[in-house]
Symmetry: C2
Subunit: 233 residues, 2 copies
């Protein structure tokens, strides 16, 4: 149907990052303050344009992860979330964004300051409820990212990506409780996690202490798919 000299339209490609972590027992997402128009000064997801025409999209995501979030050399979970390309979502023209979901273990404070309303780790709740306003369609992207994380906690070992290399079972439980926003019975959780072969493996006879009985340390096991799954109440 197109006439012989028809040329397909070209679009601008960006990557946006939903970076999740746990802080103070709550699910947090990293937001930056935009330094340039459009939406200058507004909060938004870290991200940016493809660097050059030959750059791989996931490579661009990792580059932004380093540049904007200071999470360069770390090995963290990174997966594609989806494409957001509705016409009109960006006043600069036809901008299509590939969103990625990243999960980071508990970290020291991020690049920028920690003003409650500035760049930094904001609770997922404040973003989803609209208490914090984001630029573009980024609130929807965060919502999709959080829902993806919630779903993957059920069927995959994603929860271990929120933890340090070694962790206790209660720390793992805190991940589930924070991401799902529910409380779980420690005894049933303990049983379930222990009986799911390959989910977590004991890390030597070491222990750790703080207040009560010392807890055994574990690390992520080889299994990535949980069968049967953890069930969200």
């Amino acid at each position: 149907m197109p006439i012989d000299d028809w040329e397909p339209p070209a679009v601008l490609l960006t990557v946006d990052l939903v970076i999740l972590t746990l802080r103070e027992a709550g699910l947090r997402v990293l937001l930056i303050e935009r330094g340039v128009p459009p939406h200058q000064g507004a909060l938004a997801l870290p991200g940016g344009f493809l660097g050059h025409l030959g750059e791989d999209i996931e490579a661009a995501a990792r580059r932004e992860l380093a540049e904007e979030a200071g999470l360069g050399d770390r090995s963290l979970h990174l997966e594609q979330l989806g494409v957001y390309g509705e016409p009109g979502r960006d006043p600069r023209g036809r901008v299509v964004s590939v969103a990625y979901l990243a999960v980071a273990p508990r970290l020291p404070d991020p690049v920028a300051g920690t003003d409650a309303s500035g760049a930094g780790w904001h609770t997922a709740e404040s973003v989803l409820s609209g208490e914090v306003t984001l630029a573009f369609d980024h609130r929807r992207i965060v919502a999709d990212g959080v829902e993806r994380a919630r779903a993957k906690l059920e069927h995959s070992s994603l929860a271990t990506a929120f933890c340090a290399e070694t962790f206790t079972i209660s720390e793992l439980q805190e991940v589930y409780e924070a991401v799902w926003g529910t409380r779980l019975d420690p005894r049933n959780f303990y049983r379930k996690v222990q009986r799911t072969e390959g989910f977590i493996v004991a890390d030597g006879p070491s222990r750790r202490t703080e207040n009560g009985r010392p807890a055994r340390l574990f690390r992520a096991g080889p299994r990535t798919v949980l069968h049967p799954p953890m069930v969200r109440p």
Copy 2:
């Protein structure tokens, strides 16, 4: 870091469609024969460039669904699968493709002829095994689409999208068996499906006959999320 007059690179955007259906009790995917270079004459997924700069991506997918597959007015399941934008995947330049997964009920023969090696419905097995060769990275896209369908059969009511408006429980079972590539016990399947409230609802006292005892007819119920899920053996 970018210099002041830096301009972000522009890419070409395409949509590709993984259209799945059931034919002769097997899972099939629709392939077309490319009429223009690159890969002229090779088999590929239906799809094409964004029509114009203001076209919505999902709208483009629906347009290709109508133009290339003749599935225009039908209401069928359509969801975004992911982005495939590796540099070098398309010799025409930097082409980024948004893949969609579509699920269609059993249909009459598609647009083109039915040569075993030509355009038309090919078994998913022949594509995944490499017996049939596809252009670009389309084999990987098909693999991801099939895996997505397999996973969603567990937790959602996607299976009903493979069926006509009304269907019997054995027809629904055939969907699961074809997509998963396994055999299921009809009695346990019957029980499981019946007890999952809202998955399927009886469609009047009507029946249908062919060989054995007539089967009750059902239609898709209001529930889209299955809880507890169907389990893949």
